[in-house]
Assembly symmetry: C2
């Protein structure tokens, strides 16, 4: 999650909503992808950190499934990103801060693949603080 937070900080300094994601191969601990939210610079509403990380990790793995991987993300994924994790069969989702407004659990927790393990609240306060700083600075 420290690596994901580093990605979120890169987003922060780039003027993007500060969310970062990292995909790790569980067996080897190898980092397959790291990404941060780039919706502004890419003019692309689908360019969330998780989406970019999933696409990059599947390219690295040479297949479209990530069953043996954990995806770390600083903020609870939205339904789009949770849906991508379903299709990519992500083995484990670890997120930091919850998102009561736009998180997938508010819409439908069952969007995720039934075999995806979920761990929440990891470095949650730090992940949340970065988001709060970002939005406070824009008010």
């Amino acid at each position: 999650m420290r690596l994901a937070l580093q990605q979120a900080e890169l987003a922060y300094h780039a003027g993007e909503v500060p969310i970062g994601a990292v995909v790790v191969h569980i067996g080897s601990g190898r980092v397959l992808a790291r990404a941060f939210n780039q919706t502004e610079v890419l003019h692309d509403p689908t360019a969330h950190a998780e989406m970019l990380a999933i696409t990059a990790a599947t390219q690295r793995m040479g297949g479209k499934y990530l069953e043996q991987c954990a995806l770390y993300v600083t903020v609870e994924p939205c339904p789009m990103c949770a849906g991508a994790m379903l299709w990519g069969r992500v083995g484990c989702l670890v997120f930091g801060a919850s998102d009561a407004k736009k998180g997938y659990t508010r819409y439908a927790p069952q969007i995720l693949h039934p075999r995806t393990e979920v761990v929440s609240g990891v470095l949650g306060q730090e992940c949340q603080a970065l988001m709060q700083h970002f939005f406070q600075a824009r008010r």
Copy 2:
């Protein structure tokens, strides 16, 4: 929807799940993007027709919102694609066949932006038939 069906047929012949999508600017009728499902060839679980069409349309528009656009897709979108339509603020969603198993309405109809108009069942039988042919041929 005829154009979206053409895209779905391209997917069919490429060995991809045959779903096609087209984004049209409502005011001018201009086609901004056309795409078909490419998850296999790209090894990317996020490469659904709708996702590719949304990204292509926002690139064409030079912004990340598609409020003045209609997205035509041959099959009801999944939660990932519905989530992308939320973020992209798609003005109108028109789909053909319903998807009782993986469609967003099964999970949470409210994933879509509240202002997105939805029209369903347009050329529904033809869109459905193409899917059935595809999966029957693989059994």
